[in-house]
């Protein structure tokens, strides 16, 4: 493979990406682009970021050999990149720290965010508290109901949580609402997007801040097992944890990269959130990418047991990795993810987020058919404490 240096100047990964926003946002986007371009190469900025990731987040996160799970499946050896052990319990904080540091340097005292499962909202509220910034989080009303614990966490951290009642009342509607806030308060507000989507430079910026995950794996895997893994698995909603672990591995062509989308009730049911597996390219939320849409170009309501994957689009770089074949994408159903959730709890004493359970489920599917010499690395992107009520409800219990 040639040197991978995407996106191009206009924020394109092949035909995907770009800057599809109203003129009212262009000045803010141009400013962000220029500032990010400057600070991404600024030694002082990078040193502070490294310091924060080490002392505040607790990086590097370990890689753990899930021996009992591997033996139970009787095939490939499964390793987990423990992003669930980060401060706030997911990979999301890698990105929010970077963007909040940028916001401070740009003189913006107010940050806003959209959130689905609430993990990005919590990570944003956390860094806003850490840096003394005002914080408003937009969250679909349906997600507010599903993720009550995270809503309370955000409030404890001093953030204002705004339930969004429009559309499907989930992540995409929260994103619409955050964009509207941004355009109204452009002078003092920084919009911290939580995934590798949105107008350029967000897909690149969020990828870069999360790429610390993949970079750590590049050094940790040889230390642990003497080589790089054969397969890397990560769940994909918008795709930030997947992009974070995939990106440093793109040039390592012997490593298979597989993104795991939310299959909901199954792709044939139509009730899912698998944009790459079942969508077609279009324009939404500032970028061109694969979308779940009807024949007339209207965005379809999605379904997943996991609020964090319940999104009708996907980051444009994933769209490009799919088209070029460098990564492949599969779907895992709600039921399979739940089984993986319980299995990991029982066999390894690790309670994974329902999002990450999709990647674990794919590992469980693949491992038995692979030899014991094969190594699967799963990005365990978050912990599942926030999902206990959802899981209990599925088992007919009420906490």
């Amino acid at each position: 493979m040639n040197v991978y240096d995407l996106p191009d100047q206009e924020g394109y990964f092949g035909p995907y990406g770009g800057t599809f926003v109203s003129e009212t946002l262009m000045a803010a986007i141009e400013e962000l682009k220029a500032q990010y371009e400057h600070y991404r190469q600024d030694p002082e900025f990078l040193a502070e970021l490294a310091h924060e990731l080490h002392h505040y987040v607790g990086r590097p996160s370990p890689i753990y050999h899930a021996k009992r799970l591997s033996e139970h499946l009787g095939g490939a050896r499964i390793y987990l990149k423990r992003e669930d052990l980060n401060h706030t319990g997911a990979h999301k904080v890698n990105n929010t720290i970077g963007q909040a540091m940028l916001a401070r340097r740009m003189g913006k005292p107010r940050v806003i965010a959209e959130t689905g499962a609430g993990q990005h909202g919590v990570a944003t509220a956390t860094v806003a508290a850490r840096y003394g910034m005002e914080c408003v989080v937009y969250m679909g009303a349906e997600d507010v109901r599903r993720q009550a614990q995270n809503v309370y966490r955000m409030k404890l951290l001093g953030a204002q949580v705004v339930p969004v009642e429009s559309g499907s009342k989930t992540l995409k509607d929260a994103l619409n609402e955050a964009m509207r806030d941004w355009v109204t308060h452009i002078d003092d507000t920084f919009y911290i997007i939580g995934t590798v989507a949105g107008p350029h430079p967000y897909p690149t910026m969020v990828r870069d801040f999360n790429a610390v995950v993949g970079r750590e794996c590049l050094t940790q895997m040889p230390e642990l097992v003497g080589r790089q893994p054969d397969v890397i698995l990560a769940c994909v909603g918008g795709g930030s944890n997947a992009m974070g672990i995939f990106y440093p591995y793109i040039p390592q062509e012997s490593v298979r990269l597989i993104g795991v989308e939310a299959g909901g009730d199954g792709l044939s049911s139509g009730r899912h959130a698998a944009s790459l597996s079942a969508g077609v390219p279009g324009v939404l939320h500032g970028n061109r990418t694969y979308l779940l849409q009807d024949a007339h170009g209207q965005i379809i309501e999605t379904h997943s047991i996991s609020a964090g994957l319940d999104y009708p689009g996907v980051g444009p770089e994933h769209a490009w990795l799919k088209d070029t074949g460098r990564a492949s994408y599969v779907a895992i159903t709600d039921e399979e993810a739940l089984q993986a959730f319980h299995t990991l709890c029982r066999l390894e004493g690790i309670l994974p987020a329902l999002e990450s359970s999709h990647a674990v489920a794919q590992a469980m599917k693949m491992a038995p058919a692979l030899g014991k010499d094969q190594i699967i690395l799963v990005n365990l992107s978050g912990r599942g404490d926030k999902d206990m009520a959802t899981v209990a409800e599925r088992s007919g219990l009420h906490l």
Binding site: E10, V21, E23, G167, N176, H296
Partner: protein
């Protein structure tokens, strides 16, 4: 001369400014669209802006978003919007019609197919909210081929450099977004708008319209002293929302008449 250019020429001859109402096709019903268009013209509208419903209208406030949701519940598609224009053209071949919407439904239909069908229906201009000039260049090329104007936005935060670039590309008229925010917000500062419109005029070769946040005749009147056109969107959509479906054309016409009188009093 295009319908848009001849409309502005005619108005300029009588020292009047263009009144441009906006509503979403399919709100409250698909069947009410053509009667509403005709009523708006009777009430004094010079150009009609028709919203193409979209599931995720990011740049719009709650009022127009609800209108979009109602239209989508009625199953209204881009093809239906084009059919509405074609039907309107059977009785009105003079009033310009501008379609306003988001990129995805247009891309789904295909840029060339959309341009051809819009031309056949009698569309005069197209404004795609999430196509800044760079991303919208392919649609603009397709529309230019069939003689349809591409309406571009300028905002309060648009830099001088971009303003001059956008003005170079503009056809039909330029649409100045008169406040920071989404459609229907309500904190418009007329003096600031006057300064900005003055700057746009120094670059623009086409008329300059002002929209976003124009809620009453008095504001429309003051803006018509500054700009070539005044766009009334959310205020009209609110009127439609508050009306029984059969009453929509009558109330839309009455509202237009108020704005028309206020603006013409300015001359």
């Amino acid at each position: 001369m295009s319908r848009i250019a001849s409309t502005f020429a005619r108005l300029s001859g009588s020292n009047r400014k263009a009144l441009i109402p906006f509503f979403t096709v399919g709100d409250p019903l698909l069947e009410s669209a053509v009667p509403t268009m005709q009523a708006l013209v009777s009430g004094g509208a010079d150009i009609l802006e028709l919203g193409i419903p979209f599931s995720d209208p990011m740049a719009d406030g709650p009022t127009i978003q609800r209108a979009s949701e109602r239209a989508l519940q009625n199953g209204v598609t881009l093809t239906d919007v084009l059919a509405v224009v074609a039907e309107f053209r059977q009785t009105d071949d003079v009033t310009p019609v501008v379609l306003m919407g988001y990129a995805n439904p247009i891309e789904r239909l295909g840029l060339d197919a959309f341009a051809a069908q819009a031309r056949a229906a009698g569309v005069d201009g197209v404004l795609v909210v999430d196509y800044p000039p760079l991303e919208g260049r392919f649609l603009k090329a397709a529309l230019t081929q069939v003689g349809i104007d591409t309406i571009l936005l300028v905002s309060p935060t648009t830099t001088e450099q971009r303003m001059s670039e956008i003005a170079q590309l503009a056809t039909g008229y330029l649409y100045y977004v008169s406040l920071r925010g989404v459609t229907g917000a309500g904190h418009l500062e007329v003096d600031a708008v006057a300064t900005q419109v003055g700057r746009i005029r120094s670059y623009a070769k086409v008329p300059v319209g002002v929209g976003f946040g124009i809620r009453d005749g008095a504001t429309a009147r003051r803006l018509s002293e500054i700009a070539d056109a005044v766009v009334v969107g959310s205020r009209l959509v609110e009127e439609i929302e508050a009306s029984a479906p059969t009453e929509v054309p009558r109330r839309a016409e009455a509202l237009m008449r108020q704005f028309r009188h206020a603006m013409d009093g300015a001359q």
